[in-house]
């Protein structure tokens, strides 16, 4: 995908002095080769500080170039490489191999259609995001200078500004797994970020959207989302705050 690496033909790093070898089992899927997904094992030499993303690079660059996954920043900022690692959603660039044991299972995130290997179709996820109108909505006259906000007002929604849209939360949600009509945790986090922003006037509208049959009331409070978030956002809490705002009609 986005792998553009300059040093392609150099000596495989880590092979000589590597500390240990781990088995990485990847859920492979390529509809042009096999209509079924299969597990494939790779023996990967890893160094002490390696992240899982480094192990995947080892595979892609030195063992099997057909392995397909998304990554861009490699430092937990862009949100490209959320995957199901040993059964839980994590960013491959943020988990250390040393914390994962000797056999590591890597699967695509659940609930979205797999396109190839670890790459899923993110469109339903983005569709839910767009549906909550994730942009500033204002009314009245345009101020002549910037829209000021107190530190306290800014702190109110600070947690939900941290989202990098990796989809780890939404694809860890059992309600989303069985019914992708549900908005999912990420869209609610995105809405929360504006609903509780003192400069925004669209709260009512967004609350109405989330009051929908497929909105916040489908949340079962399983906390999978909070557990999955690589940014440490208290996702379930944000969802509960939206529910509370709906019940009491205030923010």
């Amino acid at each position: 995908m986005t792998v553009t690496e300059a040093s392609s033909a150099v000596q495989q790093p880590g092979v000589a002095g590597h500390l240990r070898t781990v088995t990485v089992k990847v859920r492979r899927y390529d509809p042009e080769v096999d209509p079924e997904a299969n597990w494939q094992s790779f023996e990967v030499p890893v160094e002490k500080g390696d992240r899982l993303l480094d192990a995947l690079h080892q595979i892609k660059w030195y063992q099997d170039g057909s392995l397909t996954f998304r990554r861009s920043c490699a430092h937990g900022v862009c949100g490209s490489d959320a995957m199901r690692i040993n059964g839980v959603n994590r960013l491959a660039c943020k988990v250390l191999v040393k914390d994962l044991g000797d056999e590591i299972l890597v699967e695509p995130i659940k609930g979205l259609a797999v396109l190839k290997d670890l790459v899923v179709d993110m469109e339903p996820f983005f569709e839910a995001f767009r549906a909550v109108k994730p942009f500033l909505i204002t009314s009245g006259r345009e101020p002549t200078r910037e829209r000021l906000q107190s530190t306290k007002d800014r702190a109110r929604f600070d947690d939900t500004t941290k989202c990098i849209m990796c989809a780890a939360c939404t694809t860890s949600c059992p309600v989303f797994w069985t019914d992708d009509a549900y908005f999912g945790p990420q869209a609610i986090v995105a809405a929360h970020r504006f609903i509780f922003d003192s400069r925004d006037d669209g709260a009512r509208e967004r609350l109405e959207i989330l009051n929908d049959k497929e909105g916040v009331w489908r949340c079962r409070t399983t906390f999978n989302c909070t557990d999955a978030c690589p940014r440490g956002i208290e996702v379930t809490k944000a969802i509960q705050e939206v529910k509370r705002a709906l019940i009491f009609r205030r923010r």
């Binding site: 553009t4 469109e123 983005f126 569709e127 767009r130 549906a131 109108k133 942009f135 909505i137 059992p174 309600v175 069985t178 019914d179 669209g202 509208e205 109405e208 959207i209 009051n211 929908d212 049959k213 497929e214 909105g215 009331w217 489908r218 529910k243 709906l246 019940i247």
Partner: protein, 142 residues
């Protein structure tokens, strides 16, 4: 590197337009959600109280017979208790199953028929239970 654009570009609605389709504009799901919490809370007391009286208090379950029930239902208090228990538990359970069907039934047809089955059986239980509580007659001699 070639950028691959699949499908049409995303359409973003104008800020103040209503979302097309989907929303039914009612607060039904919200009230259902609140009902689940409230009825659950009440049922804890009603059902635990019921179990305590029926199974543990003097003589426990051994003493329950027609006469015992008739004696209890002579008081409107216990009739109201049992009626509340019946309605709250039945609606709580029905709504719980409705939500589970929404979660797990994948086809619209399955969803519809499962819900029909659920609502019919739930209605029958409510009807029968309510009928008995209101029309109970301790005189069985004739």
């Amino acid at each position: 590197m070639t950028a691959v654009v699949t499908g049409d570009l995303p359409v973003i609605e104008a800020p103040r337009s209503r979302r097309s389709g989907g929303g039914n504009g009612t607060n039904f799901e919200m009230y259902a959600w609140i009902f689940m919490r409230m009825s659950g809370l009440l049922l804890v007391f009603l059902v635990l109280g019921h179990l305590f009286i029926m199974l543990l208090l003097d003589g426990g379950v051994q003493r329950i017979n027609f006469g015992f029930v008739a004696g209890r239902w002579a008081s409107p208090f216990w009739r109201t208790w049992d009626l509340a228990q019946l309605w709250l538990a039945q609606l709580h359970g029905t709504n719980g199953l409705r939500v589970i069907i929404n979660d797990y039934a994948e086809r619209d047809g399955t969803r519809f028929w499962l819900k029909m089955l659920l609502y019919t059986s739930s209605f029958l239980v409510l009807l029968l239970g309510t009928l008995v509580i209101f029309t109970f007659d301790p005189d069985i001699t004739g």
